[in-house]
């Protein structure tokens, strides 16, 4: 079991992801904008961040990634976005991304990517 923070402002997409990862025994928190995400991360101390780029109210999932990696430099960041990959990289500006998954996504694919990211972090975290 790992702790996963999902940042996605499309509530239906967020819900499908939440179901998927909860069903696989992970602890999941979802947030729709940057401030909510940062507050949730404080409580959860996630093992992986799964985030969209463009969020409600001009907030940005990559800003969340930058902030969280400031406190946890090895936190793997998996980006889900409809933006072209080069634009995501441009916006990331120095934030190391574990993977960029282009939307539309398949749950199984994003699931596999997240599991790989968790493994890269060194298996299950103490909790």
């Amino acid at each position: 079991m790992a702790k996963i923070l999902i940042v996605e402002d499309e509530v239906n997409s967020a819900q499908a992801l939440e179901f998927y990862f909860s069903d696989r025994g992970h602890r999941v928190r979802t947030a729709t904008h940057a401030a909510e995400a940062i507050a949730a991360a404080r409580e959860l101390a996630p093992d992986v961040l799964l985030t969209d780029v463009l969020l409600v109210g001009e907030s940005d999932g990559l800003a969340v990634a930058r902030e969280l990696r400031g406190g946890d430099p090895t936190l793997p960041v998996v980006v889900m976005s409809g933006l072209p990959e080069h634009e995501v990289r441009e916006r990331a500006r120095g934030v190391e991304l574990f993977a960029i998954c282009p939307k539309p996504l398949r749950l199984r694919e994003i699931g596999a990517t997240v599991e790989t990211a968790l493994a890269s972090r060194g298996g299950a975290e103490p909790r």
Binding site: S13, A16, G57, R106
Partner: protein
Amino acid sequence: MHDQHAENDRDPPDEGTGQTAEVGRLAELQRLREEAERRARQQAALARLGLSALTELDLDEVFDRAARTVADTLGVELTKILELLPDGRALLLRSGVGWSEGLVGSATLPSDAGSQGGYTLKSSAPVVVDDLPQETRFRGPKLLLDHSVRSGLSVIIHGRDRPWGVFGAHTRERRSFTPDDVNFLQSVANVVGAAIERGRIARELERRSQELALKRAEERFRRAERLASVGTLATGIAHEINNPVNSILMTAESAQMARGREDWPERAEQALEIVVREAERCGRIVRDVLDLARSDSRGQAPEDLGEVVRRGVDVARKLTKGGGLEVELDLAGDLPPVTLDAGGIERLVVHLLRNAIEASSAGAAQVRVATERAGGDRVRLTVSDRGRGIEPALLERVFDPFFSTRRTSGGMGLGLSLAHGIVEEHGGEIDVESHPGEGATFRIELPIAGRRDAAGPAPARISGGAAAENAG
């Protein structure tokens, strides 16, 4: 300089005897009276010159008037206005009275001790010359010697950051200029300096307003380019459709995975609802894109603009289910019928009102919608909200398709693009002004006669700050 005379005034009366003393006193009184009259004349001349310098836009006219005023008021044969040329090495005889034919406008003098003017610049104080042939401070220049100048005075015309030039007055007869004369000439030179500065500021303003106009034209051009770009449109459509497609895909997949589990019926039911809703959203996007592509200037007929706008407002009220939209209508009663596509203008009003709603905090959109006569056979429609306003940096992008500062439910960032397209179809112009926190005002101008040339859309323009919180 007045002090000198003041002291004279206080000189103890000559205690000499009888008649001599009386004659002396009378002569002194006479002198004082003449001096007072001279001062009054100088002040009156200065006031007249100051007034004309305030209203006269042609600098050469101001120079000529100043040169004549000094000649008349001081009673001198020669006056000159010298302009220090940009290289600082020479003084040009820009204006003057009494000089030989052809010299004004072309003669130059050295700006150093080779001339009285040059010496004045160096000494940065008024220079009074009693007898030019005896002068030792500078060499009498050819210009003055050629004109048999004997006496004279000269002062600096001050510029913004360096002397602009020199004002001189000269006589052929020997004459002792008084401190009052010097003061008068300096005052005239100050008036001339102020007129020059005013001219400089006017030219600077003109230059800046031209630059601004050019910048606006560039912005318009860039926007037209962007709007016309297939790439921008394609990226926008792809991105907007991606979100609902992503939801549909993941929700359906999630439901598939739940098959056979206890909660399967509810999960499937819920998933189907989401799929329908998100598919509808895709449909709306496709419809808007088709609207955007539609260019139809047929169907225009003379209409009552106020009525059409009123209908648009009613439609917007229905769409928002009456809640959260307060519209203040200010429709001009004296507008002529305007040739327009009523359906298009109704949609235009709806798009702008939706934008205003999205720019305002929930349930509190206050919008003023006004029509009025504009110049040049046009009418103006104004829609102002009191919403969040738009950042200056985003202003020029508000009409871009899929540009939106909100990414929540609602529209998809096409409303203002559609509005722009409708205005364009009418041969009109749409323009937006906004400052963050102070709402936004959209101004639309439409030709009363409708769009006459079916070919080539009229340019729309962005001016000032714009506010568009497009639905996202």
